[in-house]
Each structure stands twice: as C-alpha cells, then as structure tokens.
C-alpha cells in the first residue's frame, strides 16, 4: 500500500476491470486477469460472460479461485463443460476478450512465458503456454496484464510463446491465424496501452496517477508510441477496493 491509499495490485486489477465492456464474452486466465474480470462483473459489466478453459461457462464467481478448474471458478455457472467445448467455440468466434498475464512482452504484444536463455538448456524455465497460445490465437481481442520494467518490456523476446501481432501488420494472418484478431490492451502499473492501427506497435493510451511519460519510456527497452495528449487514469475508488477485498479476502492475489 502506497501513501496514495491503494496498492499497485489494486491499481492493476481496477485498470484491467475498467477495460471490459458489458455484454461481451471473456476467456479468463489465473491471477490478475481473474480478479479484474470478477471486479468488472460486479461494477460496469454484470452481463460479462465468463469462460474458463477447464470448461466453466457463464460463472458468477463469488470467491477468487486458485485455479481456473476449481469449483469456485464454476460457481453459479450455466454449464460445467469441457476443454474441447470451450476452445472449439473460441475457435468459432464466440469469445470477444482473452485476458492473460505474461512474463515479458515485445512492442507487438507477443508474449513469452516459456523460457529465458536457450530452450534446450534454459537459464530459467517458466511454465509454458498453458492455454495462453490458444487464447491469444483465437479470441477476438487479447488483453495483457503485467508489471512493467525493462526486463518485461523487451526489444526481442527469447521465445514467443503466444502470438501478438508477431512482426507487424498482416503477420498473424500470413502465419495462418484467424483474421481480424490480436492484442487489444496492455495494462501495467504505469499505464494503459493499445496498439497503433498502422504499425501494430504498442501505443500509450493513458498514464496512471502521478506517472510521467518519461517514466513509462524509461521502463521499456523498446520505444513506446506516445500521442500528443495522454490522459491520466482515475485511481481505484473505495468501492472498487472494497469489492476487491470481498473477492479475495485472504489476499491470494492482492497481497502479491
């Protein structure tokens, strides 16, 4: 908790939640994406359709799950189905948002969660894709949430686990991925980002309270596109903070 009265995690969760529009469908990953989605469902997006990869459809989650497969994730769901089912209708265009965490990204929103160093003999081995590659390939709009610094916003990823815009405009389609989808927003503790229509490179949309554009650039190895006017986001409200603590009373995510 900073002197501002909210923690970095609360800021991330609230910024993630505010991006989500009501009446859409969303494929949710573990951790920050989950808590942000749950917050959105209690705020501006009560009709957000939650989908979890283990098979839960239409959940109204009460307490933060530890895993996308535990029964908290299917609380008040309309269906407890299967992985084949949910990834198939994802492939069929039914899912608007894919919400993912990441270990590191590049300017095109490509994600690494597999390895640092050589793949065959890694310096650091991370868990790998899980469902992220599929979510990033098949959902209409992918939202990424991660803490930003020079080691996480990198010029060149050692391994592309999940496709962003790959190496630029048209690259996803040329590789064979479904048309018209890709990264939509990136949320960090410093700001909210989108992607430039023409170049498909990361573009600053808003900075968090008290954060300067210089700070944002200093915490990235690649150059971030900065428009002439960059608005400031609103800090987490007391209501959002109260709901976050209701969702995660034991601090599974909030205490990180």
């Amino acid at each position: 908790m900073s002197e501002s009265g909210y923690s970095q995690t609360e800021l991330l969760a609230c910024s993630g939640a505010r991006v989500l529009e009501d009446g859409r469908s969303i494929f949710v990953g573990t951790g920050l994406p989950m808590i942000a989605t749950m917050l959105a469902q209690r705020m501006q997006a009560p009709n957000l359709l939650l989908i979890f990869e283990a098979g839960a459809i239409g959940s109204q989650v009460k307490l933060l799950p530890v895993s996308v497969a535990d029964s908290r994730a299917s609380h008040r769901a309309v269906a407890a189905s299967s992985m084949h089912d949910v990834f198939s209708f994802c492939q069929n265009g039914y899912i608007d948002y894919g919400f993912l965490g990441a270990a590191a990204i590049d300017a095109y929103g490509n994600i690494n969660t597999t390895v640092f160093g050589d793949w065959a003999r890694p310096k650091v081995r991370l868990p790998g894709s899980g469902g992220a590659n599929d979510i990033g390939s098949l959902c209409w709009q992918t939202i990424l949430i991660l803490r930003q610094d020079k080691k996480r916003f990198v010029e060149r990823l050692p391994f592309i686990t999940t496709a962003g815009y790959l190496h630029g405009p048209g690259a996803r389609e040329a590789a064979g991925l479904p048309k018209g989808c890709g990264p939509y927003r990136v949320i960090t503790q410093l700001g909210v980002y989108g992607f430039d229509e023409e170049t498909k490179r990361l573009k600053l949309l808003a900075r968090h309270p008290g954060v300067t554009v210089e700070e944002i650039q200093a915490n990235s190895e690649f150059e971030i596109l900065v428009p002439a006017h960059v608005p400031e986001t609103q800090p987490p409200t007391p209501e959002e903070q109260r709901i976050l603590r209701e969702i995660d009373p034991t601090g599974l995510v909030l205490r990180k």
Partner: protein, 335 residues
C-alpha cells in the same frame, strides 16, 4: 499434401491408426469384467518404465495423486509425460526421479502459488528434458484425434510462434478455404491416470463438474487407470447413464480411493490442501528438503490410506470439505 512449416519437437505417442486398431482388437475386452484392484496392483500391471503417461483433471483439480505416489514408490523410471497443465503430479514425479521427458503445455509452476523449485531445478540442470512444446488446446485436440482414430486434426492455433516451432505439429494449406492450418498429430498415451467421483467395478465412470479433457483422454490412451472416490453398484450407473463420462470398455483398472486426489481439489468434495502444498513448495527449495518430503509422505507410508492418516486423516478431510463449500478459509483460522 505440401508441408509449409514444421515444428522440430519430438512427436510422442503417435501410432499409425491401423496399428492402433489392431492393438485395440487384441487388448481391450468388450465384456464387462470386474476390474477392481489395489493401486499397487494397477501400477505394477499397467505402468512400465519408459511409458508415456497423461494425468486427468487440470492443475490441482481432480488428479489421481494416489497413483502418482504409488508410481514413485514403485520407482518407475524414464517415463515421458504429457504435461497438460501438470502441476503437483509432475512435480512429485520429477522429484521422485520417474520422469525423463516432458511435452509441455504447462509444467514447472503451481499456478497462483508460484513456480516449482523441484521441476525447474530438474529442467535447468538437464536431468529432465522438455522434448516438445504445445498448448492446452494442442494437447486437447491431439487426444481428440487419437480418440477419433484419425492420424491428425487441423486447428487454427499455435501458428507463427516459437511454441509451434518446438512442437510436433505441421502447417499445410486447407484445400477448401486455401488458408493455412495447423495439423496436430494424434497422441495415444500408453497410460492415462484419471480420478473420478464414482465408478462401478467394471469402470463405468461419472464425473461431477467440468470434465476438462478426460472424455477424449480416456478414449485416446491405451491403458486407463481409474481411481474413484467410491465404487457404486452398476444399477446406480444405469439409473443415470447420461452422467457417464467414461464407459467401461476404455478402462483397465478401477481402484476405490476416497480422497485420492489429496492434496489436490476434488470439486464438490474437498478443496486443495494449501498448507500441505506450501509445505511441499518450501521443502523442495533444497534437495534435502525434497528427500525429506518423499521420505515422510511417499516412502515412509505403505499406501495412500497411511498417507491420509499422516496428513491429518478424516478430520482434515472434513475441514477441506468446509473449504470447498466456502464455509472455511483456505489457509485455516489464522488468516
């Protein structure tokens, strides 16, 4: 068919469909026979050194830990594993020295709980090799192809990434749309290990809650070992046949093991035992600690029943039922 791109990952568990059909004809009885046996017997009979295994459930949810512990106790070696969001199961098998190869969608981490010291140490030191990458849908649809008896299945995922480059998949042109498609090879595990809510003695299994990918996995694997919270009469199954996820003919062993997923979670029955998993994650920070855990909970007990007593017995399991019902906090009363 012209192949336009090709992953360099090792293609584990593929069989020519005709070869597999013959194997099935010879090895899978069509009549309902009693398949009840102990976990020890199931592992002795059906898990061989060098096998490719896959574990049902997802992460810390509905995994047959009873069989995992027994595989370690029986010191199986050089197993390959389809790490389809494999968490505690793969971690223990690696620490127990059972695994040499991994095809990885998700491993070496414990989801929200952080990364896995034991799994990472093994991969980073080279004692365990990741021989291919894939994704969760990648595994799902590899099992689906095997379950359907077809050599591969097209999908629209993986392409353009290093996950594809290190996978066993190939890219070709769809003769109808002209678009590129990713061809996922069928994956027939030698052994699938699945924990269910109820089964009869013949292996007709019912699962409450999300099936994850167990429907396809059970039909893809050559041998299917089932542990079940309870064995029910065949009439219970026949009264509600729409709830059956795995019919008997795919199943080779049925073992009644109440709480057989502990410390993982069994939907509607008991939540994951977070303090116990924390103990594992803390101890596995060192080799000595890892050995201490294995001595205490795996080699120091003769079977899963003794293990359950050691982790708190019926009283603890009742607490975990209250956590599952959201009547008690995950970390106990101190939080």
């Amino acid at each position: 068919m012209e192949i336009l791109a090709e992953g360099m990952g090792e293609c584990l568990g593929w069989h020519d469909p005709d070869e597999h059909r013959l194997w099935v004809r010879e090895n899978k009885p069509r009549s309902m026979v009693d398949k009840q046996m102990s976990v020890r017997e199931a592992v002795e009979r059906f898990v061989q050194d060098g096998n490719l295994i896959a574990v049902g459930g997802f992460g810390h949810v509905r995994v047959s830990m009873a069989i995992i512990y027994e595989i370690i106790r029986q010191k199986r070696r050089n197993l390959a594993i389809a790490a389809k969001t494999a968490v505690h199961d793969i971690d223990l098998l690696i620490a127990g020295g059972c695994i040499s190869k991994v095809e990885c969608a998700y491993a070496f981490g414990h989801e929200l709980r952080g990364l896995s010291p034991a799994g990472r140490r093994a991969v980073e030191s080279g004692t365990v090799r990741v021989v291919a990458e894939t994704s969760n849908a990648g595994f799902q649809w590899r099992f689906l192809a095997a379950a359907m008896g077809i050599p591969f299945i097209p999908a629209r995922t993986l392409m353009g990434t290093d996950t594809f480059a290190k996978s066993a998949a190939k890219v070709a042109r769809d003769p109808w749309s002209g678009n590129l498609v990713c061809l996922l090879p069928a994956l027939y595990p030698d052994v699938a290990i699945i924990h269910v809510h109820r089964s009869d003695r013949f292996g007709n299994c019912q699962v409450d809650g999300s099936i994850v990918e167990d429907f396809e996995l059970a039909r893809a694997a050559r041998r299917v070992l089932v542990t079940t919270e309870e064995i029910v009469d065949n009439e219970v199954i026949r009264n509600e046949p729409h709830r059956t996820v795995i019919p008997f003919l795919f199943v080779d062993a049925v073992c009644e093991v109440p709480y057989g997923a502990h410390p993982a979670c069994m939907p509607y029955k008991y939540f994951s035992d977070e303090p116990h998993i924390k103990e594992w994650l803390t101890l596995t920070n060192t080799e000595t600690g890892t050995q201490e855990y294995l001595d205490r909970y795996v080699f120091g007990v003769k079977d899963f029943e003794e293990y359950l007593k050691r982790v708190g017995g019926v009283r603890r399991m009742k607490e975990l039922k209250r956590v599952e019902d959201m009547q008690a906090p995950i970390w106990g009363e101190e939080e």
